[in-house]
Protein backbone atom coordinates (compact mmCIF):
# COMPACT_ATOMS: atom_id res chain seq x y z
CA UNK A 1 0.00 0.00 0.00
CA UNK A 2 2.76 2.32 0.95
CA UNK A 3 4.61 1.44 -2.27
CA UNK A 4 1.49 2.15 -4.35
CA UNK A 5 1.10 5.46 -2.59
CA UNK A 6 4.72 6.31 -3.29
CA UNK A 7 4.33 5.32 -6.92
CA UNK A 8 1.22 7.44 -7.29
CA UNK A 9 2.98 10.37 -5.64
CA UNK A 10 6.00 10.06 -7.93
CA UNK A 11 3.70 9.81 -10.98
CA UNK A 12 1.78 12.90 -9.90
CA UNK A 13 4.97 14.81 -9.30
CA UNK A 14 6.43 13.79 -12.66
CA UNK A 15 3.25 14.91 -14.44
CA UNK A 16 3.25 18.03 -12.38
CA UNK A 17 6.82 18.86 -13.49
CA UNK A 18 6.36 17.77 -17.09
CA UNK A 19 3.43 20.13 -17.75
CA UNK A 20 5.07 23.38 -16.65
CA UNK A 21 8.13 22.47 -18.73
CA UNK A 22 5.91 22.01 -21.78
CA UNK A 23 4.09 25.35 -21.13
CA UNK A 24 7.28 27.24 -20.53
CA UNK A 25 8.64 25.90 -23.82
CA UNK A 26 5.63 27.24 -25.71
CA UNK A 27 5.81 30.48 -23.86
CA UNK A 28 9.47 30.80 -24.77
CA UNK A 29 8.67 30.22 -28.43
CA UNK A 30 5.83 32.74 -28.25
CA UNK A 31 8.04 35.21 -26.48
CA UNK A 32 10.76 34.81 -29.08
CA UNK A 33 8.34 35.28 -31.95
CA UNK A 34 6.76 38.25 -30.16
CA UNK A 35 10.19 39.80 -29.67
CA UNK A 36 10.99 39.19 -33.32
CA UNK A 37 7.71 40.80 -34.39
CA UNK A 38 8.35 43.67 -32.03
CA UNK A 39 11.82 44.21 -33.44
CA UNK A 40 10.42 44.09 -36.98
CA UNK A 41 7.69 46.56 -36.06
CA UNK A 42 10.13 48.97 -34.48
CA UNK A 43 12.39 48.67 -37.52
CA UNK A 44 9.42 49.36 -39.78
CA UNK A 45 8.29 52.32 -37.69
CA UNK A 46 11.86 53.71 -37.74
CA UNK A 47 11.91 53.33 -41.52
CA UNK A 48 8.46 54.93 -41.82
CA UNK A 49 9.56 57.83 -39.64
CA UNK A 50 12.70 58.38 -41.70
CA UNK A 51 10.66 58.20 -44.92
CA UNK A 52 8.17 60.71 -43.50
CA UNK A 53 11.03 62.96 -42.47
CA UNK A 54 12.62 62.79 -45.92
CA UNK A 55 9.23 63.50 -47.57
CA UNK A 56 8.80 66.54 -45.33
CA UNK A 57 12.30 67.75 -46.16
CA UNK A 58 11.66 67.20 -49.86
CA UNK A 59 8.37 69.08 -49.59
CA UNK A 60 10.10 71.97 -47.83
CA UNK A 61 12.84 72.07 -50.48
CA UNK A 62 10.25 72.00 -53.26
CA UNK A 63 8.30 74.79 -51.59
CA UNK A 64 11.44 76.90 -51.23
CA UNK A 65 12.36 76.21 -54.84
CA UNK A 66 8.87 77.14 -55.99
CA UNK A 67 8.97 80.33 -53.91
CA UNK A 68 12.35 81.27 -55.34
CA UNK A 69 11.23 80.55 -58.89
CA UNK A 70 7.83 82.24 -58.65
CA UNK A 71 8.85 85.07 -56.40
CA UNK A 72 12.58 85.71 -56.42
CA UNK A 73 14.03 88.30 -54.03
CA UNK A 74 14.29 90.82 -56.85
CA UNK A 75 10.51 90.87 -57.33
CA UNK A 76 9.26 89.77 -53.92
CA UNK A 77 7.07 92.21 -52.05
CA UNK A 78 4.45 91.95 -49.37
CA UNK A 79 1.89 94.29 -47.83
CA UNK A 80 0.94 94.22 -44.15
CA UNK A 81 -1.63 96.14 -42.18
CA UNK A 82 -1.69 97.18 -38.55
CA UNK A 83 -3.51 99.49 -36.18
CA UNK A 84 -1.74 101.48 -33.52
CA UNK A 85 -4.19 101.93 -30.63
CA UNK A 86 -7.25 102.61 -32.82
CA UNK A 87 -8.73 105.10 -30.39
CA UNK A 88 -9.61 107.68 -33.05
CA UNK A 89 -10.39 105.39 -35.94
CA UNK A 90 -12.01 102.00 -36.40
CA UNK A 91 -11.38 100.56 -39.88
CA UNK A 92 -14.22 98.86 -41.77
CA UNK A 93 -12.33 98.29 -45.00
CA UNK A 94 -9.10 98.95 -46.81
CA UNK A 95 -8.49 99.30 -50.53
CA UNK A 96 -4.95 99.31 -51.86
CA UNK A 97 -3.62 99.61 -55.38
CA UNK A 98 -0.02 99.39 -56.50
CA UNK A 99 0.65 101.37 -59.69
CA UNK A 100 -3.14 101.48 -60.15
CA UNK A 101 -3.11 97.70 -60.51
CA UNK A 102 -3.32 94.66 -58.27
CA UNK A 103 -6.23 95.91 -56.15
CA UNK A 104 -6.31 94.60 -52.60
CA UNK A 105 -9.55 94.86 -50.69
CA UNK A 106 -10.28 93.68 -47.20
CA UNK A 107 -13.27 94.05 -44.87
CA UNK A 108 -12.72 94.12 -41.11
CA UNK A 109 -15.22 92.77 -38.63
CA UNK A 110 -15.36 93.94 -35.01
CA UNK A 111 -13.45 90.85 -33.91
CA UNK A 112 -10.65 91.50 -36.39
CA UNK A 113 -10.42 95.15 -35.37
CA UNK A 114 -10.16 94.01 -31.77
CA UNK A 115 -7.26 91.70 -32.74
CA UNK A 116 -5.56 94.57 -34.59
CA UNK A 117 -5.99 96.84 -31.57
CA UNK A 118 -4.21 94.25 -29.49
CA UNK A 119 -1.20 94.39 -31.77
CA UNK A 120 -1.92 91.93 -34.58
CA UNK A 121 -0.15 92.61 -37.88
CA UNK A 122 -2.16 91.35 -40.80
CA UNK A 123 -0.39 90.01 -43.89
CA UNK A 124 -2.57 91.38 -46.69
CA UNK A 125 -0.99 90.15 -49.90
CA UNK A 126 2.25 88.92 -51.46
CA UNK A 127 3.09 90.80 -54.62
CA UNK A 128 5.51 90.56 -57.51
CA UNK A 129 7.11 93.94 -58.11
CA UNK A 130 10.04 94.67 -60.35
CA UNK A 131 12.89 96.92 -59.17
CA UNK A 132 12.07 100.61 -59.49
CA UNK A 133 9.66 103.19 -58.09
CA UNK A 134 6.07 102.15 -57.41
CA UNK A 135 3.05 104.20 -56.38
CA UNK A 136 0.92 102.88 -53.59
CA UNK A 137 -2.57 104.25 -53.03
CA UNK A 138 -4.57 103.21 -50.02
CA UNK A 139 -7.99 104.19 -48.74
CA UNK A 140 -9.08 103.05 -45.30
CA UNK A 141 -12.81 103.48 -44.64
CA UNK A 142 -14.27 103.38 -41.19
CA UNK A 143 -15.61 105.49 -38.38
CA UNK A 144 -13.94 108.01 -36.12
CA UNK A 145 -14.27 108.23 -32.35
CA UNK A 146 -17.52 110.22 -32.77
CA UNK A 147 -19.05 107.42 -34.83
CA UNK A 148 -18.90 109.42 -38.06
CA UNK A 149 -17.87 107.87 -41.36
CA UNK A 150 -14.34 108.76 -42.30
CA UNK A 151 -11.76 107.92 -44.94
CA UNK A 152 -8.02 107.93 -44.50
CA UNK A 153 -6.18 108.31 -47.80
CA UNK A 154 -2.54 107.73 -48.60
CA UNK A 155 -0.52 107.99 -51.78
CA UNK A 156 3.18 107.28 -51.56
CA UNK A 157 6.03 106.17 -53.78
CA UNK A 158 8.24 103.33 -52.71
CA UNK A 159 11.41 102.13 -54.31
CA UNK A 160 12.07 98.48 -54.86
CA UNK A 161 15.66 97.32 -54.99
CA UNK A 162 17.00 93.81 -55.53
CA UNK A 163 16.00 92.84 -51.99
CA UNK A 164 12.50 91.79 -50.93
CA UNK A 165 10.22 94.73 -50.11
CA UNK A 166 7.96 94.56 -47.06
CA UNK A 167 5.47 97.39 -46.72
CA UNK A 168 3.44 98.05 -43.62
CA UNK A 169 0.37 100.26 -43.76
CA UNK A 170 -0.40 101.49 -40.30
CA UNK A 171 -3.29 103.49 -38.93
CA UNK A 172 -1.79 105.47 -36.10
CA UNK A 173 -3.44 107.69 -33.53
CA UNK A 174 -2.18 111.24 -33.32
CA UNK A 175 -3.12 112.64 -29.92
CA UNK A 176 -2.03 116.18 -30.80
CA UNK A 177 -4.66 116.51 -33.50
CA UNK A 178 -7.05 114.06 -31.81
CA UNK A 179 -7.24 112.04 -35.00
CA UNK A 180 -5.76 109.07 -36.79
CA UNK A 181 -3.55 108.97 -39.86
CA UNK A 182 -2.64 106.34 -42.38
CA UNK A 183 1.12 105.84 -42.59
CA UNK A 184 3.41 103.67 -44.62
CA UNK A 185 6.69 102.14 -43.54
CA UNK A 186 9.18 99.75 -45.06
CA UNK A 187 10.80 96.93 -43.16
Amino acid sequence: MRITYLLLLSLMSSIGFAEPVQISGEALENKASANKAKAQTSQLSTKATSIKQSVLELNRDLYQLEEELLSPATTRAAVYFSLSYGEFFEPYSINITVDDKQPIQYLYTKRQVSALRQGAVQPLRNLNLGPGVHTIKAIAKGIDNNGKNRELVLEESVEKHDQPLYIELKIQDNKEIQSAELLISQW
Binding site: Y92, L107, T109, R111
Partner: protein, 160 residues
Protein backbone atom coordinates in the same frame (compact mmCIF):
# COMPACT_ATOMS: atom_id res chain seq x y z
CA UNK B 1 -28.52 68.04 -84.26
CA UNK B 2 -28.60 71.61 -82.92
CA UNK B 3 -31.81 70.78 -81.08
CA UNK B 4 -30.13 67.82 -79.33
CA UNK B 5 -27.15 69.93 -78.31
CA UNK B 6 -29.53 72.57 -76.99
CA UNK B 7 -31.41 69.96 -74.95
CA UNK B 8 -28.18 68.50 -73.53
CA UNK B 9 -27.00 71.98 -72.57
CA UNK B 10 -30.33 72.68 -70.92
CA UNK B 11 -30.10 69.45 -68.89
CA UNK B 12 -26.51 70.20 -67.83
CA UNK B 13 -27.44 73.76 -66.81
CA UNK B 14 -30.47 72.62 -64.83
CA UNK B 15 -28.46 69.95 -62.96
CA UNK B 16 -25.71 72.44 -62.19
CA UNK B 17 -28.13 74.96 -60.66
CA UNK B 18 -29.75 72.18 -58.64
CA UNK B 19 -26.39 71.08 -57.31
CA UNK B 20 -25.39 74.60 -56.40
CA UNK B 21 -28.70 75.51 -54.75
CA UNK B 22 -28.61 75.82 -51.01
CA UNK B 23 -30.97 73.47 -49.22
CA UNK B 24 -31.76 72.73 -45.57
CA UNK B 25 -29.04 70.47 -44.18
CA UNK B 26 -26.30 72.14 -46.24
CA UNK B 27 -23.36 73.94 -44.73
CA UNK B 28 -23.81 77.62 -45.52
CA UNK B 29 -20.80 79.06 -47.40
CA UNK B 30 -18.97 81.80 -45.58
CA UNK B 31 -19.24 85.44 -46.59
CA UNK B 32 -18.17 88.85 -45.41
CA UNK B 33 -20.20 91.92 -46.34
CA UNK B 34 -20.11 95.60 -45.54
CA UNK B 35 -22.90 96.92 -43.40
CA UNK B 36 -24.91 100.06 -44.10
CA UNK B 37 -25.29 100.73 -40.37
CA UNK B 38 -22.16 99.40 -38.71
CA UNK B 39 -19.10 97.23 -39.03
CA UNK B 40 -18.80 94.50 -41.68
CA UNK B 41 -20.03 91.06 -40.68
CA UNK B 42 -18.54 87.67 -41.41
CA UNK B 43 -20.75 84.59 -41.29
CA UNK B 44 -18.08 82.27 -39.89
CA UNK B 45 -17.70 84.52 -36.84
CA UNK B 46 -21.24 83.59 -35.82
CA UNK B 47 -20.34 79.95 -35.23
CA UNK B 48 -21.77 79.06 -31.83
CA UNK B 49 -24.86 81.25 -32.14
CA UNK B 50 -28.14 80.71 -34.00
CA UNK B 51 -28.52 83.13 -36.86
CA UNK B 52 -31.49 84.37 -38.89
CA UNK B 53 -30.74 85.83 -42.32
CA UNK B 54 -33.38 87.95 -44.02
CA UNK B 55 -32.64 88.32 -47.73
CA UNK B 56 -34.53 91.27 -49.19
CA UNK B 57 -35.70 91.58 -52.77
CA UNK B 58 -36.23 95.05 -54.23
CA UNK B 59 -36.05 97.46 -51.35
CA UNK B 60 -35.87 101.24 -51.36
CA UNK B 61 -36.10 102.62 -47.80
CA UNK B 62 -38.26 99.61 -46.94
CA UNK B 63 -37.78 99.98 -43.17
CA UNK B 64 -41.53 99.63 -42.56
CA UNK B 65 -41.44 96.14 -44.07
CA UNK B 66 -38.54 95.28 -41.80
CA UNK B 67 -40.14 96.28 -38.53
CA UNK B 68 -41.85 92.89 -37.97
CA UNK B 69 -38.58 91.06 -38.62
CA UNK B 70 -36.74 93.40 -36.30
CA UNK B 71 -39.24 92.88 -33.45
CA UNK B 72 -39.15 89.12 -34.01
CA UNK B 73 -35.36 89.05 -33.92
CA UNK B 74 -35.17 91.30 -30.87
CA UNK B 75 -37.70 89.20 -28.98
CA UNK B 76 -35.39 86.20 -29.31
CA UNK B 77 -32.11 88.03 -28.78
CA UNK B 78 -32.19 86.90 -25.16
CA UNK B 79 -31.89 83.31 -26.44
CA UNK B 80 -28.73 84.31 -28.28
CA UNK B 81 -30.36 84.77 -31.68
CA UNK B 82 -28.45 87.00 -34.07
CA UNK B 83 -30.28 88.41 -37.10
CA UNK B 84 -28.96 90.12 -40.19
CA UNK B 85 -30.78 91.75 -43.08
CA UNK B 86 -29.12 91.41 -46.47
CA UNK B 87 -29.84 94.09 -49.00
CA UNK B 88 -28.73 94.57 -52.60
CA UNK B 89 -28.60 98.07 -54.04
CA UNK B 90 -30.56 98.55 -57.23
CA UNK B 91 -30.64 101.73 -59.33
CA UNK B 92 -30.97 104.67 -56.93
CA UNK B 93 -32.38 102.72 -54.02
CA UNK B 94 -31.51 103.71 -50.49
CA UNK B 95 -30.76 101.13 -47.82
CA UNK B 96 -33.42 100.61 -45.17
CA UNK B 97 -32.89 101.82 -41.63
CA UNK B 98 -32.95 99.10 -39.02
CA UNK B 99 -31.58 98.32 -35.60
CA UNK B 100 -30.48 94.98 -37.06
CA UNK B 101 -27.27 94.98 -39.09
CA UNK B 102 -28.17 95.66 -42.73
CA UNK B 103 -25.49 94.03 -44.85
CA UNK B 104 -24.99 95.22 -48.38
CA UNK B 105 -24.25 92.72 -51.11
CA UNK B 106 -21.87 94.15 -53.69
CA UNK B 107 -21.03 92.19 -56.80
CA UNK B 108 -17.45 93.51 -56.60
CA UNK B 109 -16.96 91.81 -53.24
CA UNK B 110 -15.47 88.44 -54.04
CA UNK B 111 -16.05 87.16 -50.53
CA UNK B 112 -19.81 87.59 -50.75
CA UNK B 113 -22.69 85.79 -52.47
CA UNK B 114 -26.33 86.53 -53.12
CA UNK B 115 -29.20 84.14 -52.58
CA UNK B 116 -32.00 83.67 -55.05
CA UNK B 117 -34.98 83.48 -54.97
CA UNK B 118 -35.38 86.50 -52.74
CA UNK B 119 -36.99 87.52 -50.45
CA UNK B 120 -36.02 84.59 -48.28
CA UNK B 121 -35.45 83.82 -44.63
CA UNK B 122 -32.82 81.37 -43.40
CA UNK B 123 -32.29 79.89 -39.95
CA UNK B 124 -28.66 78.86 -39.58
CA UNK B 125 -27.74 76.64 -36.67
CA UNK B 126 -24.75 77.47 -34.44
CA UNK B 127 -22.63 74.95 -36.36
CA UNK B 128 -23.25 76.80 -39.64
CA UNK B 129 -25.83 74.44 -41.14
CA UNK B 130 -28.95 75.72 -42.86
CA UNK B 131 -31.83 74.39 -40.76
CA UNK B 132 -34.82 76.24 -42.25
CA UNK B 133 -35.35 78.02 -45.52
CA UNK B 134 -38.47 80.06 -46.36
CA UNK B 135 -38.68 81.26 -49.92
CA UNK B 136 -42.28 81.55 -51.12
CA UNK B 137 -44.33 84.63 -50.14
CA UNK B 138 -42.12 85.16 -47.13
CA UNK B 139 -43.60 88.57 -46.34
CA UNK B 140 -47.07 87.00 -46.01
CA UNK B 141 -45.80 84.10 -43.88
CA UNK B 142 -44.32 86.06 -40.99
CA UNK B 143 -46.52 84.27 -38.41
CA UNK B 144 -45.46 80.87 -39.73
CA UNK B 145 -41.80 81.94 -39.69
CA UNK B 146 -42.22 83.23 -36.13
CA UNK B 147 -43.73 79.91 -34.99
CA UNK B 148 -40.98 77.90 -36.65
CA UNK B 149 -38.36 80.18 -35.10
CA UNK B 150 -39.89 79.61 -31.65
CA UNK B 151 -39.82 75.82 -32.12
CA UNK B 152 -36.32 75.91 -33.52
CA UNK B 153 -34.92 77.94 -30.64
CA UNK B 154 -36.82 75.99 -27.98
CA UNK B 155 -35.52 72.64 -29.21
CA UNK B 156 -31.89 73.66 -28.86
CA UNK B 157 -30.42 70.25 -29.63
CA UNK B 158 -27.87 71.46 -32.15
CA UNK B 159 -24.84 70.15 -30.37
CA UNK B 160 -26.27 66.78 -29.23
Amino acid sequence: MVRYIWQILLIITSTLTTVEALEPGDKVPDFVMTSTNGAPQRLSEQIGRPLMLIWLSECDRCQEDLIDWQYLAESWAVEGLEAWVIWRKQENHVAPWSRLPVLEYQASNRQAWWFEPSPAVMFISPDGVLDYLFIDNVDDRKVEVANELKQWLENKNWFQ
